[in-house]
Symmetry: C2
């Protein structure tokens, strides 16, 4: 079966700072047409970092689309031309003051593939050293440390409301359970 | 610390079929201002359903923002006023032809909190019966069945590129490992 939806007509709605918005008229596999709304984004990276004391470093920050704060693993947008591993190392150090000596790759996921192409690469590390914190000028974050039992409880009680953070926490629990 | 970013000025960029786009000029905690782009979405649901034969039901569909197909657990948008559990039951039956007698709640997560308020509720069920498939007229999906070892391999090999599906798979592996 050929699922492809070919663009017949495309309209640029908005070219912004972190997103571009397009409207596509597409032809469907059955010959009909449909409207598709597309939010383009350059991509992002996130890091689940474990300190020598066995604590995962999280950041609490205000997320304007939600109008409230969210607890997340450190994350950020790719700079133009930047590779994903370098971006992940940079974001971790900027937001937490810890530098990763190495990263393990958990996976690359689309958070909202129905309307956006944002691909987020998620990494894990317990190989970190002190570096230098350096937030963007419009960035305000508060670091929070979670123990493995905090993570276990947060997952069980469905308290994690961020997709990349839940993926990272479940990964940590799987790694922990497998090594028991 | 008060993280709130109050809107000083708001501009509506686009009011579409599944998304609305807004631009906010906000005041930051340090008194400066910044631009925030916000994609509003009504919310979504997804279901990881296990057949009596122990297989997870996935659907392969073309995702226009990615310009390729993606393998995902069945999911869909909330209808206006619809509660999340009913929406999850409806989407599962429409896309797979299976009806859930009950659902367990895995969690509610934001897929891209940096620019969108889309909240996706993820459920798990192994309590299903035959129902009636009924796709939307612009929806083309192909069902695929994964065994638990397919899931284990897909997670290990980082082959799952959809956030909600990776969360559901990791959940299944955690449940399975805990019950061993």
């Amino acid at each position: 079966m050929n699922f492809e939806e070919k663009t017949i007509e495309k309209e640029s709605i908005y070219q912004g700072r972190i997103i571009d918005v397009e409207k596509h008229l597409v032809s469907l596999p059955n010959g009909e047409t449909a409207l598709r709304e597309v939010v383009k984004h350059n991509g992002a990276v996130a890091v689940c970092a474990v300190t020598p004391e066995g604590k995962v470093i999280l950041v609490k920050q205000f997320r304007k689309p939600l109008e409230h704060t969210l607890v997340e693993i450190p994350a950020g947008k790719l700079e133009p031309g930047e590779d994903r591993v370098s971006a992940a190392m940079r974001e971790l150090e900027e937001e937490t003051g810890y530098r990763a000596r190495s990263l393990q790759h958990i996976g690359d996921v689309y958070g909202t593939p129905g309307f956006s192409n944002e691909l987020i690469s998620i990494y894990f590390t317990d190989d970190i050293e002190k570096g230098e914190m350096n937030l963007d000028e419009d960035e305000f974050v508060e670091p929070i440390l979670y123990s493995l039992s905090d993570i276990e409880n947060a997952v069980k009680n469905r308290e994690i409301n961020d997709a990349k953070t839940l993926i990272a926490f479940q990964h940590a629990l799987l790694v922990y359970n497998h090594s028991k």
